[in-house]
Amino acid sequence: MIYVLISKVRVLELTKPLKLLIEEHEPEAKEFMAKALASIGITSLRPMKSVFLHTLIISIIDLKRWAWHITSIDYVMSEAWRLISHVGDMDEISLFTDEDLLETAIEDTNKLLKLNDYERSDLVDTIKFFAIFLNENEGKTLHDFKEFSIALRDFVIDTLSKLINEKAYVKKAKYFGRLLATKRAASYRVAQLALLCFPIVDMGIADTYLYLLAKILKIWPNINLVEFHCPMDPSIIRVGIRIGLFNKQFKASRYGGYRYRIFQNIAKALFPDDPTKLYTLRYVGETFCTPYKKKCDECWLFGICRYYLTSIG
């Protein structure tokens, strides 16, 4: 499958050094993300419910940053902080079930203010519904990934299916159907589909959210990451194209799309035990390999980077 979009020779050339480099620099990348989250006070030391809700808000803003004209991860964090802090005490989850408070908080942000009516109501609804879910569930349920996914599934099927408005449901009906058709035992898939049922959540947001909770904040200790999907972030695609892992037509894809599956297959082929390791490329994309100001000399991928090799040639 991998070889459909990229040359077989290039993948074989890349596989070994890329694996080694990523494994070597993964702690650095994790620290980078953890620091970014900690900059607005989201660490594993916070109350569980607070971490769960605010990580979702960050994941949403992070994955929509290109569409919403938020340029870097620092701006993502500051925008999220503006929203969260204007609602009130970030550990008081019940405040986030108040639509009016959320609406006024959006008015105090820089970029979210410019969202159109549909996006704004989807964002408000998602935060509100997720806060309702967290209010309904005790801390114990959230400590175990399996229990979390089952609790989220039950909430989505029993409550969210009634709460969500008709217009949003038209887009989400297929995910509710898929969720029903999925066996409870497949925890990651269940959690992913349950998240997709929330109005504004798409595949990238669901994957990023679960990645941040499991790997960066380490909410669920001793979790098996084999099932996890690597979030398909535009920064990873950019770096992947530059180093020659993907071809130039490769773009972020919708859920279940052909390219999404290829991306996941590549991640699994490189790191069968933990496909999310490929997310380390996001760190490269945020620090050295930005769209306009490239710092190739500082980048640890320069030795295998096709872009660097051709540019110096």
């Binding site: 009906a173 509710f176 159907g177």
Partner: protein, 538 residues
């Protein structure tokens, strides 16, 4: 002296004919009412009468945009009762003098910003008032001033699109047509010059950046004598080229409002009233005959189907077959593709009947939904239907709309299809006594026989090549027709499927010899496929 459109041009007549048919079949009740009035006929089917009653009693629960369209469409036909809408529109007028709607989900309106929508809605209202000869009062003057304030110095209206700063040809053309007396002469000349240049560039390049504006641009230039014969004919042929094979105009999807506008623009340019009336009267003849014949055919069909259901019950291998199961078997036999194996579906349903033993309609709706959600969901590949079923079940809709829940539950069965849902609900109606309040919700099953006769009579405009790929397109057309003719019981139209079975097949199609002489198909004089002339049966 105005230039004339080529008289020999058959394509314009064909375009008008197709558009009229499309509007009289798929159109909203106000489109149909307008065309019936234009056709000078007294025929008004029950579905349209229902709309008129709602219009008179002010119970139309529609937004500003739809209200403005009703006003515009009916004022074009000279329907004076529409004046009462004007008083409603006054209540909806904004402080700045414009009207707007934030919930317009239609075709190219996705490209417009709030200003673009507001200007269009306001122009529709002003155009209708001029058609109805309503004197300009303060409110209307306020609206006119608001429109003129938004005009650019070059005589155009711009910044109405979300992603483009180009000037809006449609609004400019409509405004010049409507506000002729209010616009400054210099501005008017500039605007007409720009519209003329735009149309010429469209004709030369054979492409159009605002295809929805073409009809209005041609009309405004034609009415101001700014087109020569060649330009006019080329522009009209371009407009006709944009029409779909099914008869509608639309950019991203079918747009009935644009279809009506373009039809009116074509009628304003040439003298086609006679052919328009001929087409309308032909369709009215067909519809009148259908309404008349259904009363005769429907009881026959019900007896025929009841016999069928009884035969299924007798021949059933399943033990303790009941009404629901017979209806399902009957529906499956008529709905699945030839290559599809009906066994898995029948086994699932049989398992459900054995386990839940439903007795009433409500019981059936509740238990079937539970069975599908609890036991079938994991093997189903119909995820969208499953999602909707979940919502309806959680909202306890099985109490208030059991048929809707049953429909979604059947649709959520593995390898199910829309035809199976429609046919099963119809079969339930034949087998059970469904309460009267739900009869208007029973859809008309659309099968091969019904499609055959409706297509012969010209009541299906979707070409076969498209219909084969998308069953729902033909289904929507038939449902719209059924709801217009029989709003209280749309499924009655299915009785028409008896016609092809009785008349269109066999060694003597259209004619059946009998001891007294011969019988002719009741639709023979309206059917272009009549084959009786060869034996002198005409």
């Amino acid at each position: 002296m105005r230039v004339k459109v080529k008289e020999s041009s058959k394509s314009i007549l064909e375009a008008i004919r197709l558009a009229v048919r499309r509007l009289l079949i798929r159109g909203h009740p106000y489109h149909k009412l307008a065309l019936y009035i234009i056709g000078r006929t007294k025929f008004i089917p029950d579905g349209v009468q229902l709309f008129i009653r709602r219009l008179r009693s002010n119970t139309l629960d529609v937004g500003t945009f739809t209200l403005s369209r009703i006003l515009f469409v009916l004022s074009n036909a000279g329907y004076s009762e529409v004046r009462r809408i004007l008083s409603d529109m006054h209540k909806l007028q904004l402080e700045n003098g414009l009207w707007t709607d934030y919930n317009v989900d239609l075709d190219f309106f996705k490209l417009l910003n709030d200003k673009g929508i507001a200007l269009r809605v306001t122009l529709d209202v002003l155009m209708s008032t001029s058609k109805l000869d309503v004197p300009i009062d303060d409110r209307l003057e306020h609206a006119i001033n608001a429109l003129l304030r938004t005009c650019s110095p070059d005589g155009t209206w711009r910044r109405t699109f979300t992603r483009s700063k180009t000037w809006d040809v449609e609004i400019t053309s409509k405004a010049i047509l409507t506000l002729n007396d209010y616009v400054d002469e210099l501005i008017r000349i500039r605007a007409l010059d720009l519209i003329s240049k735009w149309l010429n560039s469209c004709i030369i390049t054979r492409s159009c950046d605002q295809p929805w504006a073409l009809g209005w641009a041609i009309r405004v230039l034609y009415e101001n004598n700014l087109l020569n014969e060649k330009q006019l004919n080329e522009a009209i042929s371009m407009l006709i080229g944009l029409q779909s094979n099914s008869g509608y105009w639309g950019v991203f999807e079918e747009n009935l409002e644009l279809t009506f506008d373009n039809l009116m623009n074509l009628l304003a340019i040439g003298k086609y009233e006679k052919s328009l009336r001929d087409e309308i009267s032909h369709i009215i003849d067909v519809k009148t005959r259908i309404i008349f014949m259904i009363n005769e055919l429907f009881p026959d069909m019900i007896n025929y189907l009841k016999e069928d259901l009884t035969n299924i019950a007798r021949g059933s291998i399943m033990h303790k077959a009941n009404l629901f199961q017979n209806a399902f078997i009957w529906a499956v036999e008529r709905s699945l593709f030839r290559k599809q194996d009906p066994k898995p579906l029948l086994e699932l349903f049989s398992h459900y009947i054995g386990e839940y033993k439903p007795k009433t309609l409500y019981d059936h709706a509740y238990t079937l939904a539970r069975y599908v959600l609890d036991e079938v969901a994991e093997i189903s590949n119909r995820h969208v239907a499953l999602g909707w079923l979940l919502r309806y079940f959680k909202l306890s809709l099985w109490r208030s709309s059991p048929l809707l829940v049953i429909e979604k539950a059947i649709a959520a069965l593995p390898n199910s299809n829309q035809k199976l849902c429609d046919t099963y609900i119809f079969a339930l109606n034949v087998a059970l006594n469904i309460p009267k309040e739900y009869l208007h919700k029973i859809p008309c099953p659309v099968d091969r026989n019904l499609i055959e006769i409706l297509r012969k009579l010209g009541l299906i405009t979707t070409p076969i090549t498209i219909a084969i790929k998308n069953y729902n397109k033909v289904r929507d057309e038939v449902q719209a027709l059924a709801k217009e003719l029989f709003p209280d019981s749309p499924f009655k139209l299915y009785a028409l499927s008896m016609i092809p079975i009785r008349w269109c097949r066999g060694p003597t199609p259209c004619v059946k010899p009998s001891r007294e002489g011969y019988n002719l198909c009741p639709f023979h004089d309206l059917c272009p496929y009549f084959k009786g002339e060869s034996i002198g049966a005409n």
